[in-house]
């Protein structure tokens, strides 16, 4: 296996955006039958590298080789011809097209020049079956939750029957169950001889799945070696260049049990008739399969979607907030999962993004103090490790750094209840650690933190209690002592066994 010739190679490639070098002299070789991990901190250049491997970007220097032959000016269609398929980090889907039309996009089967819907249906169904997508193929993708869309994106890559499959953080919005489906699938594809490049910030997945690792740091390869004999701590060491601490801070029981938020008979969106207490000083986890109504729970409490409750108490107020400004006034803050669509103003400078909650609260016509704004933004950036010029547009940040901005903007307002929707999605391991420490500190300081997450380990290690949501209800409330990945998954799928087995 190790002797087979590489299918896709980057040789000494470099790339700069507007004069800022992002990749310097990077080489990587993808071999058939091998899962190759690409690791690096946020902004290290991983997505940029795969964009060049797949023809979406052209390297400034160096060459891309397919089957050992250098290809100049490869375009995405040519990459597809060459059997290269990519699961993009920022999804490439179109909300108004159906699942099947999205899966076939750019590679439709034709008959007489027309899209052959019969062929498309059968091939798309095949791809969907591989990833466990059961929704009707005609469903518009816009109606799917983020996690399901991620599965469509994966199915889209599989549909192209790739020889080289590149996955850019495919599991970042997937729950444990779905991740399991994916890892099994990748294992099978590998055994069938597919070359796989796998990017993830979830190191346990990398450990379980990959045979080889390339580590990028600040745009350069710092190591390129087999994974055998390396443990997770070793991986982190490769990435950050020093000994890592524990990923999760030591858990301490919370000092208080006063309820910050208490709702009875709460309904919003998919959530039906839920009773829930959120206590000060705790990190309350929200788990479950993707798309069971967890997000509606947060949004309903936040006043962002219509919600009602038989009785409600929110930080002393005897009613649910009527809207977001009211929720903010009551000390609630919300960090959305889809940072691109809901969390950030991508075309605006980072500093403006950081200041937006302040702008929303200040008297409308009070003159702004740009000096103070800059100072505050810089301290936030330092606190969360957002590097570089804050005057750049947020879209120039890597995914993980964008997530940090979405979180950081609430910090100056010291929210009493922090509603977090998958806050570590796509965040590198060091930053995750910082965020975890921060969340525990917030809890320690008497804030209530609600952590909705698809990353089961963080629910287990970080939370005081975890509410597992299934079909719009809290199916189980697990206390810290009873927390384990198995327990959460079991509660999440209890009623769903047949479906998952399919």
């Amino acid at each position: 296996m190790a002797n087979t010739a590489p299918l896709l190679t980057a040789r000494g490639v470099s790339k700069a955006f507007f004069g800022n070098p992002v990749l310097r002299d990077v080489s990587i070789a993808l071999l058939p039958g091998r899962v190759h991990a690409l690791l690096g901190e946020n902004g290290a250049g991983k997505s940029t590298l795969i964009n060049m491997l797949s023809g979406a970007l052209r390297p400034d220097g160096g060459t891309i080789e397919v089957d050992g032959k250098a290809v100049s000016h490869m375009t995405p269609p040519e990459a597809r011809q060459a059997g290269i398929a990519v699961v993009q980090q920022e999804l490439s889907l179109t909300a108004n097209l159906s699942i099947a039309e999205n899966i076939g996009l750019g590679a439709y089967p034709r008959r007489f020049g027309l899209v052959d819907y019969a062929e498309l249906a059968s091939r798309a169904r095949e791809a969907c079956a591989l990833v466990g997508l059961h929704e009707p193929l005609s469903t518009p993708v816009g109606e799917l939750s983020l996690g399901r869309r991620q599965m469509v994106e994966i199915a889209k890559a599989l549909y192209r029957k790739p020889r080289v499959l590149i996955l850019d953080e495919p599991t970042s919005s997937l729950s444990a169950t779905e991740t399991r489906i994916l890892t099994d699938l990748l294992e099978r594809l590998r055994s069938e001889g597919t070359a796989i490049l796998y990017i993830s910030h979830r190191l346990n997945e990398v450990m379980a799945l990959c045979q080889h690792v390339t580590v990028l740091k600040d745009g350069s390869v710092t190591s390129d070696q087999p994974l055998e004999g390396t443990d997770a701590a070793g991986l982190v060491r490769l990435m950050v260049g020093r000994d890592p601490g524990d990923l999760f801070p030591k858990w301490q029981p919370s000092p208080s049990t006063a309820a910050a938020v208490s709702v009875r008979g709460f309904s919003a969106g998919l959530m039906r008739d839920v009773d829930l207490d959120i206590r000060t000083g705790e990190v309350l986890g929200i788990g479950g399969l993707v798309g069971q109504g967890q997000e509606d729970l947060l949004l309903g409490l936040y006043g962002a979607i219509p919600a009602k409750a038989a009785s409600a108490m929110v930080n002393g107020n005897q009613a649910l907030p009527s809207g977001v400004p009211k929720a903010n006034a009551l000390g609630l803050a919300y960090v959305p999962a889809d940072r691109k669509r809901e969390g950030l103003h991508l075309i605006h400078p980072i500093i403006t993004n950081l200041m937006l909650p302040a702008f929303a609260r200040l008297p409308a016509l009070k003159p702004r103090n740009r000096g103070n704004e800059r100072e505050l933004a810089h301290s936030l950036a330092t606190q969360l490790g957002i590097k570089g010029d804050l005057g750049r547009a947020a879209q120039a940040l890597s995914g993980g750094n964008q997530q940090k901005v979405a979180l950081a903007k609430w910090m100056p307002h010291e929210p009493l209840v922090l509603l977090l929707n998958d806050p570590t999605r796509g965040v590198d391991v060091e930053t995750k650690r910082e965020i975890y420490i921060m969340l525990r500190q917030l809890a320690q300081a008497g804030k209530a933190v609600v952590l909705m997450s698809s990353d089961t380990p963080e629910l287990v290690h970080l939370c005081d209690r975890v509410a597992v949501v299934r079909e719009g209800r809290v199916a189980a409330m697990l206390e810290h002592g009873a927390l384990s990945e198995e327990a959460i998954v079991a509660a999440a799928v209890a009623a769903d066994k047949p479906k998952v087995a399919a």
Binding site: A56, L105, G106, L114, V115, D116, Y117, A129, S138, P306
Partner: protein
């Protein structure tokens, strides 16, 4: 889950038609409003259901339907055109100055079509390749195209072959049949990879490009087709009126946008369906006749028109919020 092998035609039917059915969801309310107007119209003017009555009504609707499609096509790709009206005028004057001349109907039609495709392709090239905002490019374009129409016919005039006028705008539903053909052609186009790419190119161009969609080509093609539809509408107007008028199309610019947006086409690209745009144009057209038969005074016409347009857009929104 396994792939159930089954009859290929049936499978086509299933996916294609259920995708199609899914696209009705957003425009059902509009379809109901349109239906109500048709019923009201038929009730007020039973002659609508005679051959001639139907023919005449569809003739008034036809050019608006074409320009609504022309506009919707662009808006689906995230574009827009303020030059539709001028392009209609240009199509009309070209038709009215060539068809009775040596070029004849075939030559004239070819010239009209080539002009539309050409103007559209150039506009598309400027917008897509030079990355200029479509709204101003086409605003400038409207002056250039309108100027060209004035050069060809400085004042209303020209002529169309009598038989062509009678064929297209006589007492037969030729216009309606033509519309059916255009819609079928559109469905065919939308079933080509390039056509289906419109949605992706409009909504998520980066993702579409990375998926191997020829985004630029899809957008430029949309502009070209949009130009073709516009000059085609001009040709029809010339036939309908038996002559050319260099400013006849002016009102079509805003009306095409109104029809498209009424039909649920979004401005950000990739949102909405052509059937919605067509229904929107039909509503605008029906409204004129229905208000006449209800005996509205001009003041009432303006007020009612505003209310109907807002109502047709706001009602579905309300229903969405209620849910």
């Amino acid at each position: 889950m396994s792939v159930v092998p089954s009859n290929s035609g049936q499978r086509t039917g299933r996916l294609y038609w259920s995708v199609q059915a899914g696209r009705n969801v957003g425009v059902r309310g509009l379809f109901l409003v349109v239906l109500a107007f048709i019923v009201a119209y038929g009730f007020l003017f039973p002659g609508l259901f005679t051959m001639a009555g139907f023919a005449k009504f569809t003739q008034s609707w036809f050019p608006l339907a074409l320009v609504a499609m022309a506009q919707a096509l662009l808006m689906l790709t995230g574009g827009i055109s303020l030059a539709i009206g001028a392009t209609v005028s240009l199509g009309a004057v070209i038709a009215a100055t060539t068809m009775v001349g040596p070029l004849g109907v075939a030559g004239g039609s070819a010239l009209v079509a080539a002009t539309g495709l050409g103007i559209g392709a150039i506009t598309g090239f400027i917008v897509v390749k030079l990355r200029l905002p479509a709204i101003v490019v086409t605003l400038a374009g409207s002056f250039i195209i309108g100027g060209a129409a004035l050069l060809i016919l400085p004042r209303p005039g020209g002529a169309m072959p009598e038989w062509l006028s009678d064929l297209l705008a006589g007492n037969t539903p030729a216009a309606f049949l033509l519309l059916v053909v255009v819609v079928l052609l559109w469905k065919l186009y939308l079933a080509t990879p390039l056509g289906l790419s419109l949605y992706a190119a409009g909504e998520n161009p980066v993702g579409a490009y990375r998926s191997g969609v020829p985004v630029d080509a899809a957008r430029i093609a949309a502009y070209a087709l949009s130009g073709l539809l516009s000059t085609g509408a001009g040709l029809f107007v010339a036939a309908q009126t038996g002559s050319g008028d260099p400013v006849i199309g002016a009102a079509f610019t805003l009306n095409s946008i109104a029809a498209a947006v009424l039909g649920g086409i979004g401005f950000l690209g990739g949102q909405g369906t052509m059937r919605g745009a067509l229904a929107g144009s039909l509503l605008l057209s029906l409204m004129i006749s229905v208000m006449f038969f209800l005996g509205f005074t001009p003041v009432a016409q303006y007020v009612a028109q505003g209310l109907i347009i807002i109502g047709a857009v706001a009602l579905p929104q309300f229903r969405k919020v209620q849910r």
